[in-house]
Symmetry: C2
């Protein structure tokens, strides 16, 4: 067993019995609900599942496999006996409770931004940098959704060729701002269609048939917003390219739960669209959707509810006269690869490394 | 009077009487309706307005100023006595009827793609290249909506500094595919909210809370779609930069009638965001919406129904290590600056040059 991983079920092989005690902090949120679905559907051997949330949600019943489980209030004592705790309740709660979970002997997989740039905490997309998992001190960070979706396609390309620059322009769904934002998009749109007034409460701008620059705070020095700076820093970290020049524009669009990204990748020298297509055809977590004859390419409606990141529109970027830039278009489920699925895949990778 | 301009009302100053006989071909379409509104609201001296459309729409009444005008069927004889004919009924009809209108003595302002790349036909955005209007042979082309909106912001920058590359990623509204596509977006969204099935007829992909690569045919050689190639060719023509490297990704988003564009502009050398902001603050047709403190930037909801192109998020693009690229975000009304308004502005520029 990896000495850096502390799992309470030390004397049992988790692949031989359903030994893991797993907790989900933020169980009632958009990502929390998807975490529970992923734990139901995938191979992680869950023996006991604890659903944790604020006092407000405590007592609520949620289904898991054939049973109903009550949501419990998150406290400092919630983690006794836990092997793995997924956090998806914001950076403040992660900072407060993740160290308690680690002290109780659990491995924390944190979906918030709290630890992503902490050099002692691995930031992991298993298809891209599973090797970064090995030395950890109890906490593993799950990346920002745009960085997670993009690096699934970028990492295999960066393994084949030297990437010298990136440009990303995003089409981000409501789910990135939580379940309440998804509800607000539906309600605002319903009101718009009925020609009725609607007051936004979750997001700061009209959302029905509208889009807007991501509302994360703007950094005075660069003019980039907080979301864009996260995408830059985390993409660099996951790709192990700390100085890669990356331009990003993050935009919220009226789509429910899949993010899309228009991506330009500059290589050191010419790489053909066919080479890129061949590389991505073999890449784990990628599904090529690149049918020029039928004009069929990645779309949120197709990416919703599936594990793979859809990649298409692969072509030489005509904006780079050197011909060494490839343009492409991605769609990935924000709640799955952008959050819950990636977190569960991290746990699976960890457990399978321990079992080996 | 400019010898290249043939207006029937030769012996009268059109600014002294309401002398112009104006026709709108495609009067019942999304752009046609906006053309009529622009002709109502702006300074072009319209004495008589003829509304032309297919036989199917003939007889329909449309309001103009205080009267109701009947839609007439478009025929080869529709243009007798016309001074200006606006075409907005597709390239096939423009190719067939525009020469007849010119033969009848009218100036044609064509909103279709039929003549945009014809070197004998000016392609004009008045704020960007009004000087290109002068030598014409009766037809003036109104550009693609993305090219029109983008060049309002690009031309003043290209006048101040040398632009060496462009990258555009679009968020295009339903209106670009016509009034039927706008109706389809509303209906598909209504059905989605009611959890009812919906069959798309106008656009080829699900549109409710979804987005997709622009459905113009893909060019086999470049992998770019027809819309993207138009944007490249027309932007180059309007800016008088026939070899400017331009990368474009055109995407249809579930927005009703304003296009947005994430734009990166590479200059020959460093230009600061402040310099760009100062240049654009003085540029005709541009409204700066760049409030970082309030996180308030261009949005379709604000661009809808107004003449100006909104420009914001002006910052140094971190994807270019040389620091000579500026990123920005634009929103402009597709039916106004992207189509009807620009066409009427072309007519105004023409008339005012004749009157001078």
């Amino acid at each position: 067993m990896n000495a850096h991983v502390s799992l309470n079920s030390e004397d049992s092989d988790p692949y031989q019995d359903n030994a893991l005690v797993v907790a989900v902090v933020g169980a009632t949120g958009a990502v929390g609900r998807e975490l529970i679905r992923c734990l139901e559907n995938r191979k992680l051997p869950v023996g006991e599942l604890r659903l944790l949330a604020s006092a407000r949600s405590a007592g609520q019943l949620m289904s898991f496999r054939d049973t109903s489980l009550p949501v419990e209030e998150l406290t400092g004592d919630s983690f006794n006996g836990c092997d793995i705790v997924f956090f998806s309740a914001g950076a403040t709660l992660s900072r407060k409770y993740a160290p308690l979970a680690v002290r109780a002997g659990a491995v924390v997989i944190d979906n918030s931004s709290a630890y992503r740039m902490d050099s002692t905490v691995p930031l992991v997309v298993p298809e891209a940098n599973a090797n970064a998992l090995a030395p950890h001190a109890g906490i593993i960070a799950n990346p920002n959704c745009v960085a997670a979706i993009a690096t699934v396609a970028l990492a295999p390309l960066a393994q084949c060729w030297t990437v010298s620059r990136l440009n990303m322009v995003t089409y981000q769904s409501a789910s990135g701002a939580g379940a309440a934002a998804m509800d607000e998009l539906r309600a605002a749109t319903q009101a718009h269609l009925a020609n009725e007034p609607f007051e936004q409460k979750v997001l700061p701008h009209p959302y029905a048939f509208n889009l807007f620059s991501h509302n994360a705070e703007i950094d005075e020095e660069t003019g980039y917003n907080g979301e864009e700076l996260k995408v830059i820093a985390e993409t660099r970290r996951i790709l192990h390219m700390p100085k890669l020049p990356i331009g990003v524009t993050c935009v919220r669009v009226p789509v429910l739960r899949a993010h899309s990204i228009a991506l330009s990748i500059r290589f050191d020298g010419y790489v053909s669209p066919e080479q890129v297509r061949a590389c991505l055809a073999e890449a784990p977590g990628v599904r090529l959707v690149d049918d020029a004859a039928k004009n069929y390419f990645p779309m949120p409606s197709d990416a919703t509810g599936i594990d793979e990141v859809l990649v298409g529109r692969i072509r030489t970027d005509l904006g780079d006269p050197s011909g060494s830039t490839i343009a492409m278009f991605l769609s990935g489920d924000q709640l799955l690869k952008g959050a819950a699925l990636n977190a569960v895949q991290i746990a699976e990778t960890l457990i399978s490394a321990n079992a080996a």
